[in-house]
């Protein structure tokens, strides 16, 4: 298989703006071209669009709007993990030799249809993600005696980290009491425990090893990929305190990379809700089961930005189709020593975790400088 690198990126600010997905895709692509002097439209042989928008033919439309005439061009939709799924597809095209240079652009609006999975009859009237998140939280609290304060620390940490991310939706730090007293959504979930669907776009350029040198002196290599789908419906989760697809995807990704969780210097993980970050830290393998909250508390108290340095979904906002790409851009910047105030010292390897629909599917990508 060909080696695959991430070499360039672009992004919009995440916001509540009421603009079309086509416009977000184009402005995101322009941002990437503006930051990549050696790149011309003729270099790109594949264009992948990651979005939950219902619009037709968005891959070819973005290609035409950008003056690109790719061989391969199409849309990828996989709810909240559309972005990581697109990066995995781009990897596959390059690794197999079908493509050499792939532009992956993700975008969604604040009112993205991907916010709700209408198909799942078993959810009954409780289609909004806040309900599965509440049940995850309640179940975890019951099993591991998680406190409201421990839950709030996740949000406090990620909002604080987002202040140094110029593209983040939120630029406000919250105290733990402010989070614990924010609007009660359910008995087990408060407003500041939730990521916010928003408008935004992220783009990344991926190439083969041979072409990477044209665009950067510091390519970042994709070393491991794991993806797992256990179901589509939420009610197939056997244990509400574990993310089975995340566990399997993590093991596969670490095996492919020939690494372990101890080798990871920095990670962007899918904190759609506060409880998710705690469970993911355990199920990816950064800490033992039941110790996720303690791990987050230590990060917060020591101002260690190892987990979600850009602010995660809670701090940065969650434009669904862009999220997995924004996470991968953050890890690329970190491994290029180009993350500004967010920089983790001497980061050599990083991990992206992106998931969908109550972790019924997960993707884990490991990168190395």
């Amino acid at each position: 298989m060909n080696e695959v690198a991430t070499v360039a990126y672009g992004s919009t600010k995440f916001s509540d703006d009421d603009i079309s997905v086509e416009d977000i895709l184009l402005s995101t692509t322009k941002s990437l071209f503006d930051q990549t002097p050696n790149l011309s439209q003729n270099d790109i042989d594949t264009v992948l669009v990651s979005t939950n928008e219902n619009g037709q033919y968005l891959g070819p439309i973005l290609s035409e709007l950008s003056g690109i005439k790719p061989n391969i061009s199409h849309k990828i939709e996989n709810l909240c993990s559309s972005g990581a799924s697109s990066i995995v597809s781009a990897y596959s095209y390059i690794a197999s030799g079908l493509s050499d240079t792939v532009l992956v652009v993700g975008a969604d609006r604040y009112d993205s249809p991907g916010r709700l999975l209408e198909w799942d009859d078993a959810r009954g009237e409780y289609t909004n993600p806040i309900f599965w998140a509440s049940l995850f939280t309640k179940s975890y609290k019951r099993k591991f005696n998680l406190s409201e304060e421990e839950l709030a620390i996740v949000s406090a940490k990620n909002h604080k980290n987002a202040i140094d991310n110029p593209n983040a939706y939120s630029n406000k730090a919250y105290t733990i009491p402010e989070i614990m007293n924010s609007k009660q959504i359910t008995a087990d979930l408060r407003l500041l425990d939730c990521s916010k669907p928003c408008t935004g776009g992220s783009a990344i350029l991926m190439t083969s090893k041979e072409l990477s040198k044209k665009f950067t002196d510091a390519p970042v290599w994709i070393k491991g990929i794991g993806q797992k789908t256990t179901s589509a419906g939420f009610t197939k989760n056997n244990d509400l305190t574990e993310l089975e697809s995340t566990k399997i995807a993590s093991i596969d990704s670490f095996n492919m990379a020939k690494m372990s969780p101890n080798d990871i210097d920095v990670a962007e993980i899918h904190d759609a809700f506060s409880i998710c970050e705690i469970m993911e830290l355990e199920d990816i393998g950064f800490t033992k089961k039941g110790k996720g909250a303690e791990y987050v508390r230590t990060l917060f108290n020591t101002e260690d930005k190892k987990i979600n340095p850009r602010g995660g979904l809670i701090g940065s906002g969650h434009p669904l189709g862009a999220t997995g790409i924004a996470q991968t851009i953050e890890i690329t910047q970190q491994l290029q020593n180009n993350a500004g105030k967010k920089q983790i010292s001497n980061a050599k390897s990083g991990l992206v975790h992106n998931m969908s629909a109550a972790a019924t599917s997960s993707a884990v990508i490991i990168l190395e400088s």
């Binding site: 078993a122 959810r123 009954g124 309900f131 309640k138 019951r142």
Partner: protein
């Protein structure tokens, strides 16, 4: 509107069962996810147990598992905090753009 939705609107809870391998297919579908044979529609059990629950305003919402070993989210009418493993009964169901399942304590 499919058979499941039509029957819900009559207040009947039906589920799909494979006519060849007898597997319950849930969420409902016309084709078995095990052997791809056609399903028949059977009355689902109304008896269930609580797997997990939380509350929004005054309504309890619960993940429940019925005696057919299928799980769903529904509303529980109860003045008291529900208990895990508590036995409950499907009391009312209907379809209005999405399914609604209402349970009551036994």
């Amino acid at each position: 509107m499919n058979k499941f939705e039509n029957e819900l609107n009559k207040g009947n809870f039906v589920i799909s069962k494979c006519q060849k391998c007898n597997k319950i297919v849930w969420p409902v579908n016309d084709i078995c996810d095990n052997c791809f044979s056609n399903v028949i529609w059977v009355t689902g059990s109304k008896s269930a147990r609580i797997i997990e629950c939380s509350k929004q305003k005054n309504d309890w919402f619960c993940l429940v598992e019925t005696e057919d070993q299928i799980r769903m989210l529904g509303t529980l009418k109860s003045d008291n905090e529900p208990r895990i493993e508590q036995r409950i009964l499907l009391d009312e169901c209907y379809f209005d753009k999405k399914p609604y399942f209402m349970f009551k304590a036994v």
